[in-house]
């Protein structure tokens, strides 16, 4: 029996076709474009919505301070959301893939933990700001209604907000966290392999 198998030789025999450079370059371009597209789309959405709200402000000239505060809070909610969204991508852009495996893994675990925190906190903040903003914004216009319709309008809005807070928000947070926890767990398992002091 041959106990001295030449692994190196066997290893080197695995060959693959070299994709031609054009293929790789087109892939690089596609990659660049898709990243840029994603960034533009999210930010564009924020800008359009904010412009729309500012347009309402200018066009309808709200009289009460509550309306103005409401508008500001709503915009703030969206700004914070998009900033958080952009930042969670920026975290990855800043990691250097040129670190050693063990440093890289530790870094990834850190980032994922940060992302986990950011997503939860930011999502909560977003909901609170948005709900308060809408509540304040409505005040001026419900003043013009009869008591019945005023209560009705606030009632509907509150139900919608409560539904968001108690159903959609926890669901969203849970979904993100399960995903992140799973990934963090996997990275920790990999890191563990390197920590073994054998």
């Amino acid at each position: 029996m041959n106990s001295n198998i030449n692994f190196n030789e066997l290893w080197a025999k695995q060959k693959t076709g070299e994709p031609n450079k054009e293929d790789l370059l087109s892939k690089i371009n596609k990659f660049k474009k898709s990243n840029l597209k994603r960034l533009i789309i999210t930010n564009l959405l924020l800008i359009i919505t904010s412009l729309f709200i500012i347009f309402i402000w200018v066009y309808y000239q709200p009289q009460m301070i509550t309306t103005k505060i409401g508008i500001i809070l709503t915009i703030l909610a969206m700004v914070i959301f998009v900033i958080a969204y952009n930042q969670s991508f920026a975290l990855f852009r800043k990691t250097t893939n040129t670190q050693s495996n063990s440093e890289y893994l530790k870094n990834l675990i850190d980032i994922k933990a940060k992302q986990r925190f950011m997503q939860t906190t930011m999502l909560n903040l977003y909901f609170v700001l948005l709900s308060t903003g809408i509540g304040l914004y409505m005040y001026e216009y419900t003043q013009l209604m009869t008591a019945f319709w005023g209560i009705f309008a606030y009632g509907i809005t509150s139900i919608w907000i409560l539904f968001n807070w108690f159903y959609l928000r926890p669901k969203q947070i849970k979904k993100q966290q399960t995903k992140l926890d799973e990934i963090i767990g996997k990275f920790e398992m990999l890191n563990e392999q390197l920590n073994e002091k054998k």
Binding site: S3, F7, N8, T16, K21
Partner: protein
């Protein structure tokens, strides 16, 4: 250094590293390509203070480690069609078996043994992985033993 030269010099090596890690021909090609996309992006930042081979293998092995995130929800990226024709032709069963065995090792061991089989100095492997040289030597010894044993069992 020019990207094309690096690409020529390292394509096969990086592919083998990915192949040892994942033992899936198409996926390994994708991972190797993605590695070169990162290399291409980071190349302007490369300073000659580090060894280019260390630098590239770090990028590639980190790419492999990130693969774990994608498992279960991996969507196959588009591959140039002309590549698939060359797929796994005339591969000796022994070669296949070696790659299969390696891909069944713990993730970090796969990287260490792949680098060793690529004839990278153990001191360099230590820098790539971020462990001490002694540690690497012990690990390589153990992995080789494991592989030899698996080959023997396979022969019987």
């Amino acid at each position: 250094m020019v990207f094309e030269d690096i690409y020529k010099a390292y394509w096969q090596k990086i592919f083998r590293l990915c192949m040892g890690y994942i033992n899936d021909y198409d996926l390994a090609q994708d991972m190797a390509q993605e590695t070169f996309i990162i290399v291409w992006q980071q190349l302007p930042k490369f300073r000659n203070e580090a060894n280019i081979s260390t630098w590239i293998f770090r990028i590639a092995s980190n790419k492999c480690l990130r693969q774990i995130e994608k498992q279960n929800r991996f969507l196959k990226a588009e591959l140039p069609i002309n590549l698939k024709q060359e797929k796994e032709e005339n591969i000796e069963p022994q070669i296949q078996f070696l790659y299969k065995c390696i891909s069944e090792l713990p993730e970090t061991d796969r990287i260490i043994i792949s680098l060793e089989l690529e004839n990278i100095k153990q001191s360099e492997i230590a820098i790539i992985v971020g462990l001490s040289e002694v540690n690497i030597r012990v690990k390589i010894h153990r992995i080789k033993e494991k592989l030899t044993q698996k080959f023997k069992e396979n022969e019987q």
